[in-house]
Subunit: 211 residues, 2 copies
């Protein structure tokens, strides 16, 4: 059975973004520090069309996280842009430019309908009837491959609370953000997810959970 | 220079105790789950006068945490018992019985004066003039050896915010407590503490920080 795999970076004090999130500062104050471990890696640069980069203990973790994925689910906040209904006059088309790094179907969970958006090899489908519908559509698109749950925190919480996450990979960054959005606020327990391993790497500890 | 070494168990959602702490439930609801990784270990059982036990990836971490210690500092909550002034008629003498496992001087930071308490090889000295005084006294007692900061969260925060912690060892347990006392609430940053390594072990990930 293909899996739903949730992967997200989190601070030592449990935040997936810093305080004061806005269109100008989508990760909140200091939130970009959650991702500093990934940008130097060759394994991150390649799917973003960049050459070179480092290889370290995070590389295999990142590569494993990209393997065998047939579709991606994300929340409206992660897709980004203005809140509320989509504005056809000034369409927000994501953070990733004309060739997003997904190269697979992406399902954006939102309250606001919008026609599919094709950018390069990635098609964004906007799902307005909830997380279970998004998962059904993503599974259908992925076929025998797994579905990635890319975040952010709000949609992660929803899938965790629904018991629908098969694997969770937390990239825990040893910083304190002191505010922002906490991944586990409102999550009563991890259900049947168990820690299966952890990997020490420069600037990050990867915590692997599975059923 | 001898170090101040802070060691504490913490849940995935950042709590060092569960909700509803009381004399009857000193670690709060579910808080005892933070320590389940340690009890089976031979390295924990030996200093508690117990034979046998397991050896796993946590053993060396625990042994290293006990090496070269000359004194221990703890907060009043960790020493335990009733809140407020000490009651000479019904003295609370800690959780550990007549032979506490410290076998070294222990300095308890409290608002309420009390004469020193000798139990077996451990002398508890009650310090009422603050964390810096406790550290001075502990350093003097420890000589060339290090000082352990045993917790709980409140005193850990105080020493972190004062920039006095030289090494921090977090035993991160992959559970959600959903309430209780959060170690890092009110800690703005880790100062000069940096992640130096992490160790995967059954039921716990050990995160090591140093200057």
């Amino acid at each position: 059975m293909p899996k739903l795999r949730f992967e997200i970076s989190i601070s030592l004090d449990g935040y997936t973004s810093g305080p004061g999130q806005s269109v100008e500062q989508p990760l909140g104050a200091g939130g970009e520090r959650l991702h500093e471990w990934v940008f130097p890696l060759a394994a991150w640069r390649a799917p973003h069309g960049l050459e070179g980069g480092e290889v370290n203990e995070s590389s295999a973790v990142l590569e494993r996280g990209l393997e065998n994925l047939g579709a991606t689910i994300m929340g409206r906040h992660m897709f980004g842009g203005h809140p509320g209904p989509w504005d056809p006059a000034h369409p927000w088309n994501g953070w990733w430019g004309g060739e997003p790094p997904f190269h697979r179907p992406v399902f954006v969970v939102t309250h606001h309908p919008r026609p599919p958006l094709v950018l390069g090899e990635t098609t964004f489908t906007f799902v307005t009837d909830g997380i279970e519908s998004a998962l059904r559509q993503a599974r259908a698109a992925a076929g025998r491959r797994d579905v990635a749950l890319a975040g952010g925190a709000d949609i992660g919480r929803q899938y965790l609370n629904a018991g629908l996450v098969d694997e969770m990979l937390l990239h825990q960054v040893p910083i304190l953000l002191g505010g922002g959005e906490r991944l586990f606020d409102g999550v009563a327990d991890l259900g049947s997810l168990r820690l299966t391993g952890s990997v020490a790497a420069p600037g990050v500890t990867h915590l692997q959970f599975a059923r």
